[in-house]
């Protein structure tokens, strides 16, 4: 036999084995595409956990949170447990793939829940690729085991969701995170605004300030331990830092004018902000260690809403120097850069479409900038390439404003007033423009910001 014949036989044999479902080629393993044009959610099954100990309720709650997390992505079709055929799953045995294929399950999560002697609880789980007929290893391991105190059960649930999401989509996780926002109550002409925080799925809502002073535009530090925001404390609008653990609030800097529009630098060492003085708003950066600030723009027009690129080298901001609010990019060190529209300048305009652009936020992946756009009596949330190309509008309403990115750069949170006179609510949308969802808050809500992944 020639080598060619051997290769051909090998090839046919491989195809036959794959067709029979005996061998799964590595490339055929279950992968949920997040960007597919003609989109169908992937059917996955998450049966209840096998419980050892007396905490069955907690086990059920954990599974409910995992199911809700994954369903909220719009990428998965969470199958109804009533339809499951195999009822004798155990974590250390292969599932009966045929039973799951009948109900068209593609991914199956099998897990256990244990009460540990020290009062903690543990959840172990494995992920199965039903059509590939194999275990999907997680970070090289055959499964994952998470241990914590019972009060912390929601974080275990979110971490499980993160593992499954990451393994099936190839994207970075984002469920074990928090969202800070402004809780709003009272009539429009005398609004009370408080700093509030909640888990990414809306659980554990908590108010961080009393509402005595109006607070606006909170943003997380990269450690997720601090929030920078603007407060009218003492009647003067200025930027503050808030430590989530200690509840301590601290005025940032000693600027003579109003400071606002704060956002941490990517390394967390500095805060970018705007100062308005004598009718002119410019952008500054304050080093949190030395407490020294540098002026980054010096222009008679309004320069505000700075947001730094993940590599720390560039800053996108909002300016009306061209006659209307538009987005511009500058080098963080103030030097000249080559503009995508030609020439060199210290600030390159990147939006040239019709309408007014504001609130730019650089994606954690670095390739896109999210913004608010106003045109023809409507507001939109959109994204645009850092070169000003490929603008896509993701949402539209009477007022859609203030986008921020999930830490994996796949989901955008923003606030919406659906109709004239409607109260503001938090919403999220997938980067693909699919899966617009309202986030439930106890009060009206605005100015959401997403934390990094919790440690």
């Amino acid at each position: 036999m020639t080598q060619r014949t051997i290769n051909l036989i090998r090839h046919f044999l491989a195809v036959a084995l794959i067709t029979l479902g005996l061998v799964a080629p590595a490339s055929a393993q279950l992968r949920v595409r997040v960007d597919e044009g003609n989109f169908q959610p992937t059917p996955i099954a998450i049966p209840d956990l096998q419980v050892t100990g007396a905490n069955g309720d907690l086990a059920r709650q954990i599974v409910e949170v995992v199911r809700a997390d994954l369903a909220s992505t719009g990428l998965f079709d969470l199958q109804n447990p009533a339809s499951f055929i195999q009822r004798d799953l155990t974590i250390n045995a292969e599932p009966r793939f045929a039973d799951w294929k009948i109900i068209k399950t593609e991914g199956l999560v099998v897990g256990t829940f244990e009460d540990l002697p020290d009062g903690k609880v543990a959840v172990s789980f494995r992920l199965w690729d039903i059509y590939g007929g194999e275990l999907m290893r997680i970070n090289g391991e055959p499964g994952r085991r998470l241990t914590t105190t019972p009060e912390n059960w929601r974080r275990i649930a979110h971490k499980i969701s993160d593992s499954i999401y990451q393994r099936l989509t190839g994207e970075d996780p984002y469920f074990d995170t928090r969202i800070v926002y402004i809780a709003e109550t009272g009539p429009k002409t005398a609004r009370v605004k408080r700093l509030a925080i909640m888990d990414s799925d809306g659980a554990n809502q908590e108010y961080l300030t009393s509402g005595r002073s109006t607070v606006l535009t909170p943003r997380f530090s990269p450690s997720a331990q601090e929030i920078t925001y603007m407060s009218y404390e003492g009647g003067k609008p200025r930027v503050y830092l808030f430590n989530i653990e200690t509840g301590r609030q601290e005025l940032l800097g000693n600027f003579p004018g109003m400071t606002f529009a704060p956002r941490f630098s990517r390394d967390g060492q500095s805060v970018l902000l705007s100062q308005a003085q004598r009718g002119n708003t410019d952008i500054y950066i304050m080093n949190l260690r030395t407490r020294e600030s540098d002026r980054l723009t010096d222009h008679p027009s309004i320069d505000t809403s700075p947001s730094m690129s993940p590599d720390g080298k560039s800053i996108v901001f909002n300016s009306d120097r061209g006659g209307s609010p538009q987005l511009y990019i500058m080098n963080a060190d103030g030097s000249q850069r080559a503009c995508p529209s030609g020439g060199r300048d210290t600030a390159c305009r990147i939006t040239f479409g019709k309408g007014r652009y504001s609130t730019p936020v650089w994606s954690p992946r670095g390739d896109l900038i999210a913004f608010t756009k106003q045109e023809g009596g409507k507001f939109y949330i959109g994204v645009i390439g850092t070169d000003g190309k490929g603008e896509r509008l993701l949402t539209e309403a009477y007022l859609d404003e203030g986008p921020d990115w999930s830490p994996n750069g796949r989901v955008i949170v923003y606030f919406r007033e659906a109709r004239p006179g409607a109260s503001p609510q938090l919403w999220s949308v997938d980067l693909s423009g699919r899966n617009e969802r309202r986030m439930t808050t106890q009060t009206d809500a605005s100015d959401p910001a997403w934390s990094p992944l919790l440690q």
Binding site: T189, M258, G279, T281, S305, T359, Y398
Partner: protein, 175 residues
């Protein structure tokens, strides 16, 4: 058109302020009647002599607290300048009065941009008063952006009312 809108809005606000017991401002404002403050049938009969000179009410009713801006504008037109000239004259008569000028924006802009715009507006009012001889040390400014609308409506007239510079007396008025 811009000017007409501003006048209508200002008139509507005057009407709202003057008829505090009325449940709602009249939507169909008639600028010709309302703008001229001397017309007695427009406002309930506020007898000028009942207002104490140098009081908060004197300033509010006989001088005018607010000037109104065009969309995305912080420039002062001649109507605004007339009001500010009256404010400056009044402030020179009552030299112990201190004021806080608040710059406000309508809801049809984004929060941070509107904060900057409000500061620009408050500062435009301050600078004009200073140019008329009011000491800068008597004037503080603050921007509320779109956080403190005068009226809650979501229509052109409400937005026009909410784009304003508001001169508030903080101390020194006669009571």
């Amino acid at each position: 058109m811009q000017t007409f809108l501003k006048v209508t809005a200002a008139a509507a606000l005057l009407a709202t302020g003057a008829c505090a017991s009325q449940p709602k401002p009249v939507e169909e404002a008639k600028p010709a009647e309302v703008v001229v403050p001397q017309q007695p049938e427009v406002k309930p009969p506020v007898v000028e002599s009942s207002i104490q000179a140098g009081s908060l009410e004197d300033f509010r009713v006989n001088v005018g607290e607010r000037v109104y801006f065009g969309l995305d504008q912080s420039s002062l037109d001649s109507d605004d300048q007339d009001i500010l000239k009256r404010q400056a004259a009044w402030l020179s008569s009552y030299p112990s009065v201190r004021v806080l000028i608040a710059g406000n924006a309508d809801e049809r802009g984004t929060r941070e941009y509107n904060l900057a715009l409000g500061e620009q507006r408050a500062n435009a009012v301050k600078e004009y008063l200073v140019s008329l001889g009011v000491s800068a040390s008597r004037i503080d400014t603050v921007s509320y952006g779109k956080e403190r609308p005068v009226v809650a409506g979501s229509d052109e007239q409400s937005w026009a009312l909410n784009r304003n510079g508001w001169t508030q007396i903080v101390s020194g008025a006669t009571s």
